[in-house]
Symmetry: C2
Subunit: 306 residues, 2 copies
């Protein structure tokens, strides 16, 4: 095995609208990186946390927890030292904690004499995500595996990889507001009406069908979330205006990325996605809110060594 | 147009487990038939209702209501006379009311000088189903179109046709107990927990993925309904025992067909499906309940003229 590994993990759009906790899409562009090397007889040392707000305590950093779980599962006789390069926004809704977790798990795995299989890495990253952001796999699974992934079951963990339509483009707007996943989860309703539950199930089914058939208009219509968006939208200043602007600019669908504040919209061409990001930026600016926009293509490779 | 038409419509497995009101599968074998001819200046006459328990009042029979809606939508200058041949069990959970509705709609349509498009027939049959069994399209859509169908939206009505894995076989057991759709709907919970809603959405997504990929084991695992089955199962004497027997005999998945009392199980071969129907029959007989079993292949053609 190499003395040092350098791993990249992409960001992701969790939920993809109605697929709360059960659907996620890995996206190209920025991602977190972890540089890892063997160190000592056991345990994890975080030499660089990646951001002044992130802890160097390995039991409180998603990279550290995931690395620890991999070492434990492999019964490794050594420890690891990690340096984290944080490129995704903190509390941005782009799968940042999951990206760091997956990068930490994969980097540690690459240092093992006998690397663990993917499902063990998923479980390690899920453990990290559980500690820092809540027990859900809709970010870690696509970040590790690439593409669009459905989480059929958490116990036991079973994921279904879905095809990604080649023309799919993601327009992202991240306003300079933070929303922690914990805060965003606290507002979710504990109960939903049966009608809402059935509607939501139909939309998830339609997204899966659209992924297989490549029907992006259907995918867009199915981004109709009646559980999380109604609860979280009012907390996100400018979301309503940005969504309206995105749809007016031709977005096929638009909702909150993960727990926000990032807003995502889908388009079927680069040109359309550029018009949509422009419209969303203008909507935020009109409210005096700064935002960073970008157009992403899906990341179909997932986390990987650099 | 012909002087008389004779239409066949298959039965269906509504819900397909977790897809309450949003998924349905048309099945081969028995189906309802309608023989229609032009009669009079307007309105619908039901000459034979198909069963002593079914009304000849056209406004109370699903075939009659659907026929009336087609005439109204087409602004037809004539009426129709219908004879219904009822082959599906009444209140059996095999889409009987929907089959009669679709057959009535399609037969009437074939008598028009300018037939209506499929979506108008769907709306006519939905209107009939609304009156006699509740407003849901998970039986009428697959019965009209054939195969496996997802109902993405009821308002506006939008359905998504899904591929049907070629090896899919359906084992059906219909005990001699009746369950009206109205009674079965009354026990459904008005609210469900968020966890149940997300689980259910993931299973619907997994069924759609399995339909596209042909992964029947995944399809079976996804037949895990936590909304309707827990509410209706206890009302259906022998269901628990029949399901246990089906799974022990190799069923990939098993649940209630529509609102019951028919139980369906899925298998990947005729031999396996025969073993499953045998096991379900034995389980009912051990409880002193008579039942009729059969092995069905999916009906991929949908309603059609004979």
């Amino acid at each position: 095995m190499p003395a040092q590994v350098h791993v990249f993990a992409p960001g992701s759009v969790g939920n993809v609208g109605p697929g709360l906790d059960v659907l996620g899409l890995a996206i190209g562009g920025a991602g977190d990186e972890v540089i890892a090397e063997r160190a000592g007889m056991g345990g994890v040392i975080i030499e660089e946390s990646g951001h002044p707000s992130l802890p160097t305590d390995p039991d409180a950093h998603s990279s550290g927890i995931a690395a620890r779980e991999v070492l434990r599962e492999a019964r490794a006789a050594f420890g690891v030292r990690l340096r984290v390069r944080k490129r995704l926004p903190l509390a941005g809704g782009q799968g940042g904690s999951a990206s760091s977790a997956v990068a930490g798990a994969l980097a540690t795995n690459l240092l093992l004499d006998r690397p663990l299989p993917l499902d063990a890495l998923l479980r390690a990253a899920l453990e990290a995500e559980s500690v820092v952001a809540g027990r859900h796999a809709d970010n870690i699974a696509p970040i590790l595996l690439g593409g669009l992934v459905l989480i059929r079951s958490l116990e036991p963990l079973e994921v279904v990889r879905l095809p990604v339509p080649t023309r799919l483009r993601i327009a992202l707007a991240c306003p300079d507001r933070a929303m922690t996943t914990r805060d965003a989860r606290a507002v979710l309703p504990a109960q939903v009406s049966r009608d809402v539950a059935l509607h939501q199930a139909a939309q998830v089914g339609a997204i899966v069908a659209a992924a297989h058939s490549g029907d992006l208009a259907l995918l867009g219509r199915a981004i109709d979330d009646r559980i999380a968006e109604p609860a979280r939208g009012p907390l996100l200043q400018g979301f309503r205006e940005a969504k309206r602007a995105a749809l007016a600019a031709g977005a096929l669908g638009c909702s909150i990325s993960g727990s926000g504040p990032t807003v995502f919209a889908i388009a079927d061409s680069d040109g359309s996605a550029e018009r949509i990001t422009g419209a969303m930026a203008a909507a935020y600016h009109a409210l005096g809110i700064q935002c960073v926009t970008r157009v992403a293509i899906p990341d179909t490779k997932g986390a990987r060594a650099l």
